[in-house]
């Protein structure tokens, strides 16, 4: 092959690579549009006039009718949604504190090298990831523990996830042993090493855990629908299910005066979605840089 041919070939490759790059960029932009459009639709619909929204056809890139805050006013005066918020916040705050505490405790012990029962306990925990008793025995247990109709039924049974414990353990194990050794020479107990050395050094993995557990609690609805009968205990997602899936207009418009109901019913759905989704979507980009590590560890070791 002559030199000219080689150069020619190289130009050709780089040309076809450029074409590929162009298509790739266009494809990824389309993917972003497809991902974001439903969210844009929700936000625009939530600022729309109910009647205009009902008769609207096609894409919604701007609020239908005159932009209005009526739907949000209705949402924030709806006692069901406010109670749902309060219940979810209670479960979130109490639940996540217990989850972080218990998971880190287990992860700390199981990441120590000189601990005789490490492997048996690890097996005891990991086995539950691959085999479970099933939803009926689980439900019967909660019933026997008298947790039905109690918000603690959404907290206590979910205090440690084996998957998260493994992520945290792997992260703890990466902390140099020398720190533990020197603390021990100074007479520090395991409690002290856990609280004053390991936990302060693990802010990144704790952030990931906060997010994983937090998303689970915030978005959870199934067990609440099984364990809770008393409507005043319903978490936000369960209220949301009634409004979105069961199309229960009475729970949607409670707290709104009669004449307004028909006008805003349609846009209330969307305002509720906004109110229930924005908190979590606004937190996660700040934690994004920690994801890769957490997901990687979890998938490989899990």
């Amino acid at each position: 092959m002559s030199k000219r041919d080689t150069i020619k070939r190289r130009i050709k490759t780089s040309m076809s690579y450029k074409v590929f790059q162009g298509f790739n960029t266009i494809f990824l932009i389309l993917l972003m549009i497809v991902t974001v459009y439903p969210m844009v639709h929700v936000v625009m619909a939530s600022f729309s006039e109910g009647i205009a929204l009902t008769s609207h056809k096609g894409l919604l890139l701007w609020p239908a009718g005159n932009p209005t805050l009526d739907a949000f006013k209705a949402v924030f005066t709806n006692p069901n949604i406010l109670k749902g918020y309060r219940n979810t916040m209670f479960v979130l705050i109490v639940g996540i504190s217990l989850q972080i505490f218990m998971t880190s405790l287990g992860a700390y012990v199981l990441s120590r090298k000189k601990f005789a029962l490490k492997n048996p306990i690890m097996f005891f925990i990991t086995f539950t990831m691959f085999f479970q008793g099933g939803i009926i025995p689980f439900y019967l247990l909660i019933k026997d523990l008298n947790l039905i109709n109690n918000l603690f039924s959404l907290i206590l049974p979910f205090v440690v996830s084996a998957y998260n414990l493994i992520i945290m353990r792997t992260s703890f194990a990466a902390i140099p042993d020398s720190l533990e050794e020197s603390a021990k020479l100074d007479g520090a107990s395991h409690f002290a090493i856990y609280a004053r050395i390991v936990m302060p050094l693990s802010k990144a993995v704790i952030a990931v855990m906060l997010l994983y557990y937090g998303v689970g609690i915030w978005n959870g609805w199934f067990w609440a629908s099984v364990f809770l009968r008393n409507r005043s205990l319903f978490p936000l997602q369960l209220v949301l299910r009634e409004i979105l899936i069961s199309n229960d207009v009475s729970s949607m418009t409670q707290g709104t005066s009669g004449a307004d109901v028909a006008v805003i019913a349609e846009s209330i759905k969307f305002a509720t979605i906004v109110v229930a989704t924005v908190p979590i979507l606004s937190i996660y980009p700040f934690l994004q840089r920690y994801f890769a590590k957490g997901v990687m560890i979890g998938a490989i070791k899990g």
Partner: protein
């Protein structure tokens, strides 16, 4: 003989004592975690024994009468067996065929993006749906597919009839799979991106020296480098071939689509928690768990033999 056995015995006790003395705090710290798993994971496993009993709440798990495999046979002989098994497998296989490669492709495409901010933007945007609750996603799916919804606006534009798609059996599976890919493709690509970022840049340089173009580099360097990640995730996926989560199904389905949408787990939920056939539905669930467990063990063994990659 006796003496040595005795001696061995004392050293074991001594060893236990030493271990306790050295690690007392660790045992105290792990105790609540062990208790949690015992109560909320192992007691239900024991509770699954009601699959072999005629459970009555008054008699409790221990006091209920044994009936052997009656409930299992009732399930195998019933009309639901073939239906839910088939639906589970079909949905699972579809999501394997379409859902499994999607994040790999996305990761490979992102890997070719040279403009850093654009890559970050695509990642941030495609992760978003992972954080949206299923209730909201299915609620939106419903809004978009009702006869006055966006999807039907598009159909009407092309002269087709308007129809609420979630009432249509033949639309159920596509909607299930498409919404699943929409929600998970970005998030699931993270792990492949992490694997891709670990590839040694020198490998590419060497390949370029040998005249390999981008396609060949992808084929001979990039793909083999993430093969072990792909295989592990594939094993996990195979191990859950008979699992289709009930949460999404029961939000999405309705009696007009049961024939294609009812899967094992949703059937267990309905017959157990709604109709309160506790023993029968536990038997169905147990059958499913055991099948999954066997499948996972087999998939893991196969992978160990073929590619030396395994979960344990």
């Amino acid at each position: 003989m006796n003496v040595s056995a005795n001696k061995k015995g004392t050293t074991l006790i001594q060893k236990v004592k030493e271990e306790w003395k050295r690690n007392k705090e660790l045992y105290i710290m792990i105790l609540p975690v062990v208790i949690y798993f015992f109560i909320f994971m192992y007691i239900p496993m024991y509770g699954a024994a009601i699959a072999f009993k005629q459970f009555s709440p008054a008699k409790g798990i221990l006091g209920s009468d044994w009936v052997g495999f009656t409930h299992f046979f009732r399930f195998f002989d019933g009309i639901y067996f073939v239906r839910v098994l088939k639906n589970t497998l079909v949905i699972s296989v579809y999501s394997l065929i379409f859902g499994f490669p999607a994040p790999i492709i996305l990761a490979l495409l992102l890997n070719e993006v040279r403009v850093k901010w654009f890559k970050n933007l695509v990642q941030t945007v495609t992760y978003l749906p992972h954080f949206i609750s299923l209730v909201v996603i299915i609620g939106l799916l419903k809004e978009f597919t009702i006869s006055t919804g966006l999807v039907n606006d598009v159909f009407a534009f092309f002269g087709m009839d308007r129809f609420p798609l979630l009432q249509k059996p033949e639309a159920f599976r596509p909607l299930y799979i498409i919404s699943e890919i929409w929600q998970t493709v970005g998030w699931n690509s993270i792990i492949y991106l992490a694997a891709l970022s670990g590839i040694d840049e020198q490998l590419y340089e060497a390949a370029r020296m040998d005249g390999a173009n981008r396609w060949k580099q992808t084929l001979h360097i990039t793909l083999p480098s993430i093969a072990s990640t792909i295989i592990i995730l594939f094993i996990l996926r195979m191990g859950s071939l008979f699992t289709v989560g009930f949460e999404k199904i029961i939000l999405m389905y309705n009696p007009s689509t049961y024939e294609v949408s009812d899967v094992i787990s949703s059937y267990v939920y309905r017959s157990g928690l709604l109709d309160m056939n506790y023993s029968y539905s536990t038997a169905v669930g147990l059958f499913n768990s055991v099948m999954n467990f066997i499948l996972l063990v087999v998939a893991n063994k196969l992978s160990k033999r073929i590619s030396k990659t395994s979960l344990w």
